[in-house]
């Protein structure tokens, strides 16, 4: 497949997906919490834009609805909630220390290559366009996972989790033109509840260890103490 053969709207989807991938990397390496939340909001907006583009390209009506839902939830509500939490926790100026930033980014690049390698056998499906977007979505998911592993800050881990969800949503929208509405609503509901619970947990964690550095949550181990 060559890009030149795709209609313009699909090219636009490809472009947006690539930008979302780039934002995942920025999120991975962004040490300032507030800035990271903004990056996440932009990523959400990109996913919403993809949804809208797919809706326009395929004239899929229920996707208009999910585009609005995504925009409201991922680009506005959840970032706003995180922002408020960060302010209430007094973490506006918090910056993290990542031990090997370049190494982490390279690990992210390796994950992108891995994702592509994983979906490469799906070529018989003919639709290389879909397959490629799935590769990018998977990379988004895995980079979110990587972020949760490497970041010690609870809020940053939540951002990783949420950007994983962005990847999932991107896959659902671009590969299958969206899940059935009931599922999409269910997923959005779960996500919202999860966000509220994360907020509750931030306070519980801070109360119990006086910090949000979850590396200090290490009382429960198999090693005998």
């Amino acid at each position: 497949m060559s890009l030149a053969l795709l209609p313009l709207l699909q090219q636009f989807v490809v472009l947006l997906a690539a930008l979302a991938l780039f934002l995942s990397f920025v999120l991975l390496a962004q040490m300032r919490l507030v800035a990271a939340i903004h990056v996440f909001a932009w990523q959400g907006a990109l996913v919403a834009a993809v949804t809208l583009t797919v809706a326009v390209a395929g004239a899929v009506e229920h996707l208009y609805f999910s585009a609005v839902l995504t925009l409201a939830l991922k680009a506005l509500l959840i970032p706003w909630m995180l922002h408020r939490l960060v302010r209430r926790l007094g973490l506006e100026r918090h910056t993290e220390r990542l031990r090997h930033p370049a190494l982490v980014v390279m690990a992210g690049v390796a994950l992108v290559i891995f994702s592509y390698w994983l979906v490469l056998p799906m070529v018989e499906q003919g639709q290389a366009f879909t397959r490629n977007i799935i590769a990018v979505s998977l990379a988004l998911v895995l980079i979110g996972l990587l972020m949760m592993v490497f970041r010690q800050q609870a809020v940053a881990q939540v951002l990783g989790f949420m950007s994983m969800e962005n990847g999932l949503f991107l896959a659902a929208v671009s590969a299958t033109a969206g899940m059935p509405l009931v599922v999409e609503l269910g997923v959005a509901f779960d996500l919202l509840v999860a966000m509220v619970l994360f907020g509750v947990f931030f306070f519980q964690i801070r109360e119990s260890i006086d910090s949000l550095d979850v590396d200090r949550l290490n009382r429960l181990t198999e090693v005998e103490s």
Binding site: L118, I134, F161, M164, L168, T176, A177, P180, V183, E224
Partner: protein
């Protein structure tokens, strides 16, 4: 259909109502009543299914496989509610929990039951995902209910690990939907399990293969398969004991149920390729590793609830292995094992709740001489462990015997591995159990008011199943086996 609605709506309404009840005593009773009504609904449902084979509609589908899990879920839900009522009174009296949290506890208890029942009854893979994720969300606050640093840590670990796992499962679900869209005319039905199962052979094997890996890792996290099991011992040990009972006895089953349903799809899709047993092989591998690792870890435990949560991992591993093995005999054994393990393990956790109440600690080293201080608790724990370790005449022995026989038929050398694993697990359990039950009781250890009715009922049922499986149950399981493995054993 009415039965189904009764089963599902009761916990929904009950959960909402329980949030409004302020006082503890009526809340406990109401919780009990709601659970009882749910059980009645599920029994009615089971009776209907026995007549008409399958109930389908409104996106739900109940057949022989899930109906027995529904009854099991409702039953264990009820007995745990019986145990939970006085237990939570004791917890509140000891000042570990506030009134608001107690309201939350009861409300979330029913929410948890609801999510599990929805996960079991739904015909839609997406809704299944939503429900399993909902079960995590409902329980995560319960794990941190006591607000100790350990409890918060356990809950955070549980939340993050299961969240990640379940996100991977959603990716697998999306891939499945993608595969379905390529073959189905009605793309909206692409997540409906029954439709997918009917068209399984047409699903693209490459996509399904990748999808299954994600689904297995995702739902496997919730099953507690090694190496994604890290959350399980923590969540079990730090949450309130009734929670441990339902997590171990029910949630793990529901996750495994999801894996098995998906395996059926993948098997259908891969049947014509050169790797027809890929899904089974993966399940066998994960199951065996979980089984062995958990058996070894049993020896190192210091906390009584952690001990039994590792035992849960061990048994889930065994079931996963058996489902992976496939074939009617192994499947029948696995289904039976699901049943007896749930009953036994929730009985054990209830007993453990009383034992820790008695000793005032969860540390194995400081629980001593149960049988001297309060014989009923001591004997219950002893019999529970004897049952879970797979001694005759308890039901676990029957199911494990079936599993070993099935293994012998297809993979004889794996029987040795399984036997040695069972021996290791047995040794791990009994080296801790013996001093707890028979050791000298510390001074001043006094009996507590214990409600052991659920334990007796559960262990009695397990014993009955060990001595003779009643005809209707055998046929029931046989029908489920036929559904999963393509042929019955009877």
């Amino acid at each position: 259909m009415t039965a189904l609605l009764l089963t599902l709506l009761t916990p929904l309404i009950g959960g909402l109502a329980l949030f409004l009840v302020r006082a503890l005593a009526p809340a406990g009773w109401l919780n009990l009543a709601v659970s009882g009504l749910t059980l009645l609904g599920s029994l009615w449902l089971a009776w209907t299914v026995a007549q008409v084979e399958v109930i389908a509609g409104l996106g739900f589908r109940v057949d022989a496989f899930n109906v027995y899990l529904i009854v099991l879920t409702a039953f264990v839900g009820l007995t745990t509610a019986i145990f939970s009522r006085p237990y939570m009174q004791y917890v509140q009296a000891s000042g570990r929990i506030s009134v608001l949290n107690l309201r939350l506890y009861h409300s979330l208890y029913q929410a948890f039951m609801l999510t599990m029942l929805v996960a079991l009854t739904t015909d839609n893979l997406g809704v299944l995902w939503v429900a399993v994720e909902g079960a995590t969300l409902a329980t995560v606050l319960l794990v941190s209910l006591y607000r100790t640093p350990e409890a918060v840590e356990a809950a955070w670990k549980y939340f993050i690990l299961c969240g990640v796992g379940i996100a991977l499962a959603l990716f697998g679900t999306v891939l499945t939907y993608f595969a379905a869209q390529l073959v189905l005319a009605d793309t909206e039905a692409g997540l409906t399990w029954s439709v997918l199962h009917a068209h399984a052979a047409a699903l693209d094997p490459t996509v399904m293969r990748i999808a299954f890996v994600f689904l297995l890792v995702g739902y496997g996290t919730k099953v507690g398969l090694v190496p994604m099991h890290q959350w399980l011992p923590d969540a079990h040990s730090e949450g309130p004991t009734p929670m441990s009972a339902v997590l171990s006895g029910l949630l793990l089953n529901v996750a495994l149920y999801a894996v098995v349903r998906l395996k059926m799809l993948v098997d259908g899709s891969l049947a014509a390729t050169d790797t027809p047993h890929l899904a089974g092989a993966l399940l066998m591998g994960f199951g065996l590793v979980s089984f062995m690792v958990a058996a070894l870890f049993l020896h190192r435990q210091r906390d009584i609830k952690r001990l039994f949560s590792y035992s849960s991992i061990e048994h889930m591993g065994l079931m996963t292995f058996a489902f992976g093995l496939g074939g009617p005999l192994a499947t029948f054994g696995a289904l039976l094992h699901m049943l007896v393990h749930s009953l036994t393990k929730s009985a054990i956790f209830v007993t453990v709740g009383h034992a820790t109440h008695l000793a005032g600690t969860q540390s194995i080293e400081r629980i001593r001489g149960l049988i001297r201080t309060q014989p009923t608790i001591g004997w219950s724990l002893l019999f529970g462990v004897v049952a879970i370790a797979g001694f005759p005449p308890f039901g676990v022995f029957t199911s494990e015997f079936l599993l070993l026989t099935a293994t012998m038929q297809t993979h004889p050398w794996l029987t040795l591995v399984l036997l040695s694993g069972l021996a290791i697990a047995f040794a791990g359990l009994f080296r801790h159990l013996h001093p707890m039950v028979y050791g000298t009781a510390p001074d001043g250890q006094a009996p507590v008011t214990a409600n052991l009715l659920p334990v007796f009922v559960h262990l009695g049922l397990v014993l009955w199943l060990g001595l003779a499986i009643p005809d209707f149950l055998a046929h029931w399981l046989n029908r489920a086996t036929a559904l999963i493995a393509g042929g019955g054993v009877l």
